[in-house]
């Protein structure tokens, strides 16, 4: 089993260890979102994808280059919402990469991470459009093992849920109260840094905190996380050809 993952940077899925931001790199340095994926899949697979080199990082740069080569999408309006083409094509590009790596003995899944809101968007409330456009991109490639990972407003909200003064409680409100805009007063990034600081930690410690159980992904209860939570497990079950405990949740392995 192989799982391709792609995100926006070191603070979410991760990046090349040399921090170059290049399309290709040697060593993947996983970020907190990659570790969350690993923890969720481990429950099904029984082993860590990261530890067994079964999680492969695809840089954002690679997806941009491949997206640019994909057929042009010039429809909007009734057929397609605004602000969806980028995610759609990124998902198609990732699906193509995944399909190219499939072998008879090694099914391949893919997870595409994108913040719902933030500095890359000028407005809030695009979660559904972004989630759907990623799914549409996977579907356009006939790829059934793709999973959108779209925290609202951004990944810091999920982590704050676990680290705030009343951990894991009443987290849904964070999705609306936090600002995804890093230029706004008290942005999500600053709030996360603040709660970490109170524990004598930094953002750089998040991966270790997920590893030692200080942050328990399974306890995060937020609509955007809940929408995501079961999907990696379902994909892993499908790749491992294990039936889902939830009827109708099985996927076809490619």
């Amino acid at each position: 089993m192989l799982l391709l993952v792609s995100g926006e940077g070191q603070t979410d899925i991760g990046a090349w260890a040399d921090g170059s931001g290049q399309c290709a790199g040697a060593d993947f340095r996983p970020g907190p979102m990659a570790v969350i994926i690993d923890r969720l899949v481990e429950q099904v697979a029984g082993y860590s994808l990261l530890d067994s080199a079964a999680m492969e990082f695809i840089s954002e740069c690679t997806l941009k280059v491949r997206s640019k080569r994909l057929p042009v999408v010039l429809s909007a309006g009734k057929r397609r919402d605004y602000e969806t083409a980028l995610f759609f094509k990124n998902a198609r590009a990732l699906a193509q990469l995944a399909k190219a790596k499939v072998s008879p003995t090694a099914p391949v899944g893919a997870i595409l991470f994108r913040d719902a809101d933030g500095t890359r968007s000028t407005e809030r409330g695009l979660f559904e459009q972004k989630w759907k456009s990623i799914e549409d991109g996977f579907r356009a490639e006939g790829f059934g093992l793709g999973v959108p990972m779209v925290p609202k407003p951004k990944s810091e909200a999920w982590l704050l849920c676990a680290l705030k003064s009343q951990p894991y409680q009443h987290c849904a409100g964070l999705e609306d109260s936090l600002s995804g805009n890093d230029r706004a007063p008290s942005p999500a990034k600053a709030q996360l840094a603040s709660v970490l600081s109170a524990r004598g930690k930094t953002v750089g410690d998040l991966v270790a905190m997920l590893g030692d159980g200080s942050i328990a992904p399974n306890r995060i209860d937020m609509p955007s996380f809940n929408r995501f939570r079961d999907r990696p497990e379902t994909v892993a079950r499908s790749m491992l050809r294990r039936p889902s405990p939830t009827p109708g949740a099985n996927l076809d392995a490619q």
Binding site: K64, S67, L74, Y82, A184
Partner: protein, 398 residues
Amino acid sequence: MITRFHMENFKSLVDFDLPPPGHELGGFTCLIGLNGSGKSTLLQAFDFVAHVAAGEIDRWLERREWKKGELVSHLGKRSPVINFRVGLRTRDGAAVEWQARFNTNLMKCTAETVSSSGTPVLALEDGRLTVAGAGNAPGQRFESEKVPFEYEGSVMSTMKLADVHPHLAEIKDELQRLCSLELLSPQQIRRKARAANDIGPGGEKLAPFLDQLPQDAKARLLGALMRFYPQLTGWSVKGYRAGWKSLRIHEAFPESGMVEAGHINDGFLRVIAILAQAESAYRFLLFDEIENGINPALVGKLMDFLVDLGRRGKQVMVTTHSPMILNFLDDAVAREGVMLLYKAADGRTQACRYFDQPETGHKLDALGPGEVFVDTDLTRMVDRLTRPMATVAEERQA
């Protein structure tokens, strides 16, 4: 080449800059924006400035069937004065700026300065005219307490510029080589016309213009046309009594090999009028809604032609509503040359570089320029651009 354009009090161009400060116009500029944002007005403003330089404003107004009072802005305080600045780069690389105050009651500039690399080479103020000589030395200056001749538009239009600073002649020539074809119309192109050295603002003189082209230019034009229309075998100009001329085309169809002007399709007429500009003396060409009547299958060829004109020393400015037009642009050309025009809350036209905006810039790495255009809600973007800064700050805080 024209590098910058500033206009005050011309219709909706109240205090308008193109491109935004810190940038210069390149070989190809594409204006986009919602209906009524001022795209056509901007083309008219360029045409106005060219006719001020040529001293032909009366004729220009007459041809457009406009009254002089219609030139000025109706926004805010009414004034008969239009101020403008045009930045140009000369062949020897000097930055030249022509600044003028045009009085619509007098139909002429009452104040003008031309500076070359920061040094004034022409100044008209309170009727006093000072012009630098050819060498720009203090002794080589022409000064007059009162302009010793009548003029319309710019004082440069009537002056003999042979013995004065060479940049004056060059910029006058450059401005007169600006041609706005925003009125291009197939109906007008079909008309018979007599001798002409350009195609006319609506294309009404295309046939005589084509007729007077040298043989090599005619061959080049046919070659360019055949890339668009492989069935085309030639074109010719039919002469009538008293010098009237009309266009006809020849096609490789056995039954109907020749098509007279009245029956040539609109798209072909627009394409031949546009392609003919490669053979014209004009250096700055402006086209409104360039995609009109052109089959989408030909848009790529048309854009390649226009961008190539820009690379070969001409400047091209088009307006469009078509994502296909944008999608045929290289990213670098799109980043530099696609300008969004929009109206501020008070109705004034503003411009910004479209791919410098937070809604669009990052998408260009993964999408084509036209894809970004259809993927971005232009109305919402304009709304963000026109919101008062205080509101934006409040929203950020929220």
